[in-house]
């Protein structure tokens, strides 16, 4: 008998949202050739938080950020990530000098069977694996620790946490595999500051601005001075001041209802049956309503638009084994760092 296929929540979520995208990623193992920077910042912060919660040594965290951004002197994007991560982690360390929880495990992976809740039988075709950011104890209760970076925390964002089925499902698996009763989820949210480093203006830009000011001035003169680029030190100070604001960090605890476990198991079982059917018939249809779900084209949009043209596959995509999140802790980020 063949070994069961390793699956993750990301795979099932993608299958539910767009079967074709799931086919491209998990059957054909294709990913865009170009690196997605939106994922990089989230991964960087996840790793920083792991180091911090493990050793509580800010210097070690900042050294890690330095090493993670080796080309920041030449690369604007890397420089922005470095500035933001540095200020964010300094702010985080200051904000949470002491913790209300005890860390039980960090970056904990698990693998478990997918069970049909109606019969209690395990799937012979699939197993589910995943990774949680942490398991913590508050008093005598265990919580999953879930790190998130967000552009802003508003009512909608906090409301949406209730629909975070992935982490609830993971809680059930952690219970099954680790033998801990998970009371709820502790969301650890870090806000990405939107500050931009002042780039200054060129001589030509300054002259143009000055000309406009003089034209508007009654005296025909202007005392305007050329704006020079903001230094790294000044920008880092500005970011650190921003991160001194307690609103840049937020912790939200949600308790899990036991009923949710059962309905999620049912959903997951249903998805496995649909996947088996799709695979047997070789039919993975597109959900065109999902192509621009994050207000940008899906990673596989050029491929679908071309009808799966091999020229597109060979020039714009590469083969990468699935379930990278089990290897490097990537999390799906929806917005760029700035």
């Amino acid at each position: 008998m063949s070994t069961p296929m390793l699956t993750t929540y990301s795979m099932w979520s993608l299958f539910r949202n767009c079967r074709k995208a799931c086919d491209w990623r998990y059957q054909r193992e294709l990913v865009p050739l170009k690196r997605n920077h939106n994922l990089n910042f989230g991964s960087l912060i996840h790793e920083c938080l792991e180091i911090w919660h493990r050793d509580r040594d800010l210097k070690q965290v900042l050294n890690f950020i330095d090493r993670a951004c080796p080309n920041r002197a030449q690369e604007d994007r890397e420089q922005r990530d470095w500035h933001l991560a540095t200020a964010m982690m300094k702010g985080y360390a200051a904000r949470y000098q002491t913790e209300e929880f005890e860390v039980i495990a960090l970056e904990k992976t698990f693998k478990g069977k997918i069970v049909n809740p109606a019969t209690g039988a395990s799937s012979r075709s699939f197993v589910l694996a995943g990774k949680v950011d942490g398991i913590v104890r508050i008093g005598d209760e265990f919580f999953l620790l879930e790190h998130k970076t967000a552009s802003q925390i508003d009512a909608d964002y906090l409301e949406r946490l209730w629909t975070d089925f992935q982490i609830i499902l993971y809680a059930w698996y952690i219970e099954q595999t680790q033998g801990l009763r998970i009371a709820g989820i502790l969301y650890n949210i870090l806000v990405k500051a939107r500050l931009q480093q002042g780039r200054g203006e060129t001589e030509a830009e300054f002259e143009e601005r000055r000309r406009i000011l003089i034209a508007k001035s009654k005296t025909g003169k202007s005392s305007a001075k050329r704006k020079h680029p903001e230094s790294d030190e000044t920008f880092q100070d500005r970011l650190c001041a921003k991160y001194a604001d307690p609103g840049m960090f937020h912790r939200e605890s949600l308790y899990i209802s036991r009923d949710q476990f059962r309905s999620l198991q049912q959903d997951l079982w249903e998805l496995t049956q649909n996947f088996l059917d799709a695979r047997r018939r070789g039919v993975f249809y597109r959900n065109t309503g999902f192509c621009f779900h994050y207000h940008r084209p899906c990673a596989y949009f050029p491929l679908c638009r071309s009808g799966g043209n091999p020229n597109i596959i060979e020039n714009l995509y590469q083969q990468v084994p699935p379930h990278e999140e089990l290897r490097d802790g990537e999390s799906i980020e929806e917005t760029p760092a700035f």
Partner: protein
């Protein structure tokens, strides 16, 4: 209107959509001019040295008008060559800006201007590709630094904006990269050979849906046709995925792209 029989794979080069790109003056237009019943939609003056049929195209309206005339079919031409597709895209951009009374694509906000241009560009090229003529799209090449998961490297790509490039790559059957292959003779002097690269590589974009072409072929239309019309034997292969070497005799390193 449902079909009663399957369509057969296209056997004739004049049925295909081809993107041919490379540095200036390497011989792209000359190569295209030798295709069967060639008609150039010339968006730039560069065909003076060639004895060809051409329609000067100075705006997107001109291109639409020419396409309309071609679609009527009252002509002997079999292969339509847009030389260059880069200029055609620029004209498309100007056309949309004029139509929506804006100075720049970004003036409409939220990327709407870019989307309108890409949709118009895609619409017209798709319509042309569906006509019963070969469609050759000529483009210049540019070296572009791309960042992959494993690091950065330089790649030679057609000089089209990213989104337009993806549209074109997704439409074409052949992506032919015209390159200079540098080898050394017995005395160690460099010798140059004009070639076409037909298989994808980390260092340039290329592709062959037909599977008929070797990885590298001389930039010579008669040799190309000879190979193309041979019965297919070898399965599709990709160019070597190894990193760029130092340009010695064995390595197939592309010369740097033109502007």
């Amino acid at each position: 209107m449902l079909p009663t029989k399957k369509t057969q794979p296209k056997q004739d080069l004049a049925d295909l959509t081809v993107l041919i790109y490379g540095r200036s003056k390497i011989g792209k237009s000359t190569w295209c001019s030798q295709s069967d019943g060639a008609l150039f939609l010339a968006t730039e003056p560069g065909l003076n040295a060639l004895d060809v049929f051409q329609v000067p195209i100075s705006s997107w309206d001109d291109l639409l008008a020419a396409c309309g005339d071609i679609a009527e079919g009252k002509h002997p031409f079999k292969t339509i060559i847009i030389d260059t597709v880069d200029n055609a895209y620029r004209m498309c951009s100007e056309y949309i800006c004029k139509k929506f009374k804006i100075e720049h694509e970004s003036d409409l906000g939220y990327g709407k201007g870019w989307a309108l241009i890409n949709n118009e560009f895609h619409r017209v090229l798709t319509k042309m590709a569906f006509m019963s003529y070969g469609l050759f799209l000529v483009s210049h090449s540019v070296e572009k630094e791309i960042e992959t998961r494993t690091g950065k490297h330089t790649r030679i790509v057609p000089t089209l904006p990213d989104k337009a490039r993806k549209i074109v790559l997704g439409m074409v059957d052949l992506i032919l990269f015209c390159d200079l292959e540098i080898t050394k003779d017995e005395d160690g002097n460099p010798t140059y050979r004009r070639v076409m690269r037909t298989k994808p590589s980390p260092n340039y974009e290329a592709g062959d849906r037909t599977g008929r072409l070797p990885e590298t072929i001389d930039l010579d239309f008669s040799k190309f046709i000879e190979v193309f019309n041979m019965p297919a034997t070898a399965p599709k292969v990709s160019a070597s995925r190894s990193q760029v070497g130092s340009g010695d005799k064995q390595s197939k390193v592309p010369a740097s792209a033109g502007k």
